[in-house]
């Protein structure tokens, strides 16, 4: 009898854990973090959802966007917990342009500005510092002329 109840409890916990992971809703983060755009205009957001239960997905995820010459962009990184999201910006040849985290100074930035002078596909590579799972959103904005 106790064994059956234990199994049911474990199963319900598993369902609960799964549904919590499914609740990683980027639009909740987006609406909360959009103010970080300041005077930049919102373009797009990317949902970051890394699950340790899916080791095949690796511990990082990648998005892409075509940045245009002459435009000034802002990239806002917004995690759903106290885990720090690390975002690397890579150019069209997948060469690292910059990151919101400096290994040397251990400094972490929630957002950074990119003054683009070369049009092309850029890659945004997101991971969580010290974790192989996490949830959050990356928001992209650009400066529109006044």
């Amino acid at each position: 009898m106790k064994k059956f109840i234990s199994i049911i409890i474990i199963y319900l916990f598993a369902i609960n854990a799964f549904s919590q992971s499914s609740n990683c809703n980027s639009f909740d983060f987006l609406d909360n973090c959009a103010q970080e755009l300041g005077d930049f205009t919102f373009i797009k957001s990317y949902n970051v959802k890394l699950e340790s239960a899916k080791p095949s997905s690796g511990n990082k995820t990648e998005f892409q966007y075509i940045f245009s010459k002459g435009h000034t962009y802002i990239i806002v990184v917004c995690g759903g917990s106290d885990k720090e999201m690390i975002l690397n910006l890579l150019d069209k040849d997948k060469k690292k342009v910059s990151s919101n985290y400096s290994k040397e100074t251990k400094q972490y930035y929630q957002k950074f500005q990119y003054n683009c002078n070369s049009t092309g596909v850029y890659y945004l590579e997101a991971s969580f510092k010290g974790y192989n799972n996490g949830c959050g959103v990356v928001i992209l904005g650009f400066k529109k002329p006044q």
Partner: protein
């Protein structure tokens, strides 16, 4: 009691698992896994590409920056909305009107924004995605020029929510058409402005669309066997051909980083340039006009 609990557990296990149980048992498990993997990869690829397109807002803001005046005559007339009768045409023209809405927003024309919001709502409702747009809020924001940034944020994020939903619902084909319509309209507006202003920066941006065009073509080609797509794919093949000899060159230099008021600022020191001559530009202008006319004048 024990027996009841056993059945309860059995029910939870059976119905709590995914719907794989409903698949034909004769199918080999490896085949099923491979099939679902392929579907998943295709879906992820579609989402990745859909998210990579430059926003039409960027090119329209450049138009404004170039000093070109507001010209509503080049936009798709809102009165045409009732003539779009198929989901295919509705989706493409939703993208076109969405880009037009971005253009009027960038120029802060709130009265026109209301008109374009109406047609966006109408087409989105027809495609059963109207619930992503809070039109009362959008209309309230459009009624005052001071709210233009909020209006842009809410309308852009509504389009994004709608596209995410469509992809999740395996309606990536609809999402693709909306984005293709938006991209095409942004490019069409630019080409019409270039005809008037001959602005060099704008001409360069038109040439740079070669980068996006490659991704758009890949995306469209995924659906080339679906009804109506074949002709659109064929148009984009022609457009690709038109862009074939336009070269984008790069002079690489290491980026520099500085911190200003706690904000990290990265300066891209690589320079890209586009080689596009007058004849190539004219061919692009003509081809874009042709494709766009076919889409907006269709029934």
């Amino acid at each position: 009691m024990k027996k009841n609990l056993f059945y309860l557990l059995l029910l939870i296990l059976v119905f709590g698992c995914n719907s794989d149980n409903q698949t034909n048992e004769s199918e080999n498990f490896d085949q099923i896994a491979e099939k679902s993997k392929k579907v998943q990869v295709a879906k992820e690829e579609v989402v990745r590409l859909l998210k990579s397109f430059p926003s039409p807002l960027e090119i329209t803001s450049l138009i404004k920056q170039s000093g070109a005046g507001y010209d509503e005559d080049i936009l798709n007339n809102v009165n045409k909305v009732s003539s779009y009768n198929t989901s295919f045409n509705k989706a493409l023209n939703l993208g076109i009107y969405g880009a037009d809405l971005g253009y009027v927003n960038i120029y802060e024309k709130s009265f026109s924004a209301m008109k374009y919001l109406e047609v966006v709502k109408s087409l989105a409702d027809d495609l059963k995605v109207g619930h992503f747009f809070d039109f009362n809020t959008l209309k309230r924001l459009a009624s005052n020029n001071k709210n233009i940034d909020s209006l842009i944020y809410i309308s852009t994020s509504s389009f994004e929510k709608m596209n995410n939903y469509l992809s999740d619902q395996n309606r990536g084909n609809v999402s693709t058409l909306i984005l293709v319509g938006g991209w095409l309209e942004g490019l069409y507006i630019s080409t019409q402005m270039v005809k008037k202003t001959n602005n060099k920066d704008l001409i360069e941006r038109i040439g740079e669309q070669k980068v996006a065009l490659n991704d758009i073509y890949i995306l469209l080609a995924i659906y080339k066997n679906e009804p109506n797509f074949a002709k659109l794919v064929s148009h984009f093949e022609d457009l690709k051909e038109t862009y074939k000899n336009i070269n984008i060159t790069y002079e690489y230099a290491e980026p520099t980083t500085k911190e200003v008021d706690g904000m990290l600022i990265i300066e891209d020191n690589t320079r890209s340039s586009v080689n596009i001559n007058d004849q190539q530009l004219q061919t692009i202008i003509n081809k874009i006009s042709e494709i766009r006319a076919e889409i907006v004048n269709t029934k």
